[in-house]
Amino acid sequence: MNPLEQERLKKLLKQALPPVDESPEPACDLWPAVLRRLDQGHTRVPWFDWALLAGVGVFVAFTPAWIPVILYYL
């Protein structure tokens, strides 16, 4: 590639890529918003979901050979 082609390629690349702003960081701190979302995320677990979880626990306790198979699919 000769210098002329290099210069042309440089020019094309500069045209293709948008210029980065002076301050690429967000206008405000986003972490407090994430913390607020985490605090809102508490949900009540209905009794049948606890029953399902217990059922899976009992199944795995009685057939531990299933653990690698379940891990295989997770």
Partner: protein, 148 residues
């Protein structure tokens, strides 16, 4: 934060399999390299490490895409994924030599015999695990990421 919702859905779907990966690698290192177990269990890592995370991410994107039409709860949507993963995983396991289908049982990792009747119960247990994981973990992440 309304940009790239599908990317956020993909990442929330990817979360759980990504947490399982180091656990699988630890089991592999301990069993295969530490205990020198002769069976090549690394063949069994192809499916959970290469395909499952991507499929979870895509399934999460599909939920975001289809939710307005189907109104399917996230847990139920997640519980449908094993119906796709079970045959896909079985095919990969069969051709990588991880599983053998015998007349009365499935033989996993050259060590675990699972009779077909127990396999059906185990499949239900797997669906339950998926339901709970998708409902609570993926659902929580979707809320945090602002897509639920």
């Amino acid at each position: 934060m309304n940009t790239h919702p599908y990317l956020r859905a993909f990442l929330s779907g990817l979360f759980v399999p990504t947490l399982i990966m180091p656990l699988l690698l630890t089991v592999f290192i301990v069993v295969r390299l530490g205990l020198q177990w002769p069976f090549p269990i690394e063949r069994g890592l192809v499916f959970p490490m290469a395909l499952v995370p991507g499929l979870w991410g895509l399934w999460s994107m599909l939920w975001l895409r289809s939710h307005e039409l189907t109104h399917l709860p996230l847990g139920i949507h997640g519980a449908l994924l094993p119906f796709l993963l079970l045959p896909a995983g079985a095919v990969v396991a069969k051709y990588s030599g991880v599983v053998n289908f015998e007349s009365s049982s499935v033989f996993w990792f050259n060590a675990v015999h699972i009779p077909y009747a127990v396999f059906a119960v185990g499949f239900l247990a797997g669906i339950t695990v998926y339901y709970l994981v998708w409902k609570y973990i993926v659902g929580f992440l979707n809320r945090v990421l602002g897509i639920a």
